[in-house]
Amino acid sequence: MKMLKSTLAVLTAATALGVASFAQAGTTLDAIQKKGFIQCGVSDGLPGFSVADSTGKINGIDADVCRAVAAAVFGDATKVKFSQLNAKERFTALQSGEIDVLSRNTTWTSSRDAGMGLVFAGVTYYDGVGFLVNKKLGVKSAAELDGATICIQAGTTTELNVADYFRGKGLKYTPITFDTSDESAKSLESGRCDVLTSDKSQLYAQRSKLGSPNDYVVLPETISKEPLGPVVRRGDEDWMAIVKWTLFAMLNAEEAGVTSKNVEEEAKSTKNPDVGRLLGADGEYGKDLKLRKDWVVQIVKQVGNYGEVFERNLGKNTPLAIDRGQNALWNNGGIQYAPPVR
């Protein structure tokens, strides 16, 4: 009888514990503030977006988005821990709560936004699928790719978009899918595939990593829309708003001409009411977001505005040398547009 009792007791305790740990809700922001850092999912190595340097520091526009969120939440951009994920791991990592935000060149689509318990917070980079081929093949346009063998990263929208493109044009192709972008690049170099397909930004990044980048050329066609942006779990609007407005703050800062160099100066002495609201000199807009008053100042001071981040990671003076193109601000010929802070 005693044994029975103790068995029951253990069982009840275990069940209660189980319920407690499973049903533990709390908001993402509370949990982050408790643990003192943001766990951010980035790629397994994509120059310009998120790639580790020789000291192990992760650089890139995707990594900087996470740093900006940390600057907004903690006032300290270094309070981020990165998880390097391949395309197949990324959603499960976010769904299971292993990471707080996924900032990993991930394409915004309806099924990912609605059917996976995830929600996209915005667009960091407007991209599209293109083709990288060896110059030796003498191919000038994607329409000449009938019968080609194509290396693709597994579990990406690229896999679907390439299939659509070739099906639409009535062309044949053989897809070879790899888990990591490095494996696909290696296979292109070895001649396993004729073509490497990915988002165009990634193609430039991959090309810069090849043994002889000049032997390869990116074909002119862009066959799909690939808006890349940070993703959070569905059902926590507060956290989603923080990530979303961090991105908007970076865009608004660029638009207002606030840079990491002049931000402190501007915060103190600006005459422009827009800038005043943005930098917390006027009003309590940070409070609405459950953030500190000077959240934008911290973002811009420690990480930079959108233009600075873009130029640092992808722009003219980097090996990638990507043009702003669609990613220029709306008033500058691009489509990057952020709602105002007020």
């Binding site: 769904q95 063998t149 579990g155 897809p175 001649g191």
Partner: protein
Amino acid sequence: MQNQIGAPKGFSLTDPRVRAWLFQIITVLAVISLGWFLFDNTQTNLQHRGITSGFGFLQNSAGFGIAQHLIDYKESDSYARVFLIGLLNTLLVTFIGIILATLLGFVLGVARLSKNWMINKLATVYIEIFRNIPPLLQILFWYFAVFLTLPGPRAAHSILGYFFVSSRGLNMPAAIPAEGVWPFVIAVVIAIVAIVVMSKWATKRFEETGVPFHKFWAGLALIVVIPALSMLIFGVPVHWELAQLQGFNFVGGWVMIPELLALTLALTVYTAAFIAEIVRSGIKSVSHGQTEAAHSLGLRNGPTLRKVIIPQAMRVIIPPLTSQYLNLAKNSSLAAGIGYPEMVSLFAGTVLNQTGQAIEVIAITMSVYLAISISISLLMNWYNKRIALIER
């Protein structure tokens, strides 16, 4: 008869039998409720987080291409068909791998026992090398260091003008069924039946009269002559379609993609090393007295090995051999590293990612491996029972 003296009748917790039952019931209930709790909790959480669940996604169209499919496939086909293709690709590797690894393993195992110093040492070196390197590394080695370093299709090595080896794999002529295909198939079936009948008759005669019969040569004659006759009368069974270089790649013919070649080769070479050791220990387990007894009956070395040693060794070999087969089937999932479209890389990889339904996809994948493993086990257990020592 079980009633102890003084044991109270009826329900009492002091009765050990009642207690035994009670605890069993409690345990079962606890396991069931834990299972139910996990299931219910998952369901609730999935719903709470707005993650689609259920198996409806299997009907949706997949929308991506697949490098190797043994059955027809186009991008508009459903995820269910993608599942089938992944399953078939896994089974293909498992099947080829098991056959080749068994053959190679037996040869190596016997070689390891050879009295010839050279053969013996070569087999030992082989086994020690390949048994001790992790299979994933071997797969990557064969793929990246061997097959992908071959020249591109435009500079492919040609073997007699029929086979082409390049970084795109092994291209070979395809057999296209011709007018004589059905008569040919029927002729082969007839030949096989004839061989079985002949073999039974020969065994029976041997047991009754002791006169041996050349079963092998007679069988060979039957399997060659009957289909050849069919070809003479009804025409050739197949036409050969040659692979030809056109544009980027070879068109026509059949191709074994380098992913398949690398995976099969790596798994064969790896598993064969283990099988060799199993075969060696099996043969060693048969006491030397058996060989001496066979020799004293006048059997030569060959028949002694075939008729006396191997049948007894098989009883020791089969159970561990089964687990090697299971290992091979499970190791085929390492193909994800080189992009061979099997269950894990195709279904638990691409499909999982495109649909986001991790729990369903992983559950299906796990049950597939479970089913494959159990099937192999059942088959091998059946074979083991058949050859087991019948004790009299």
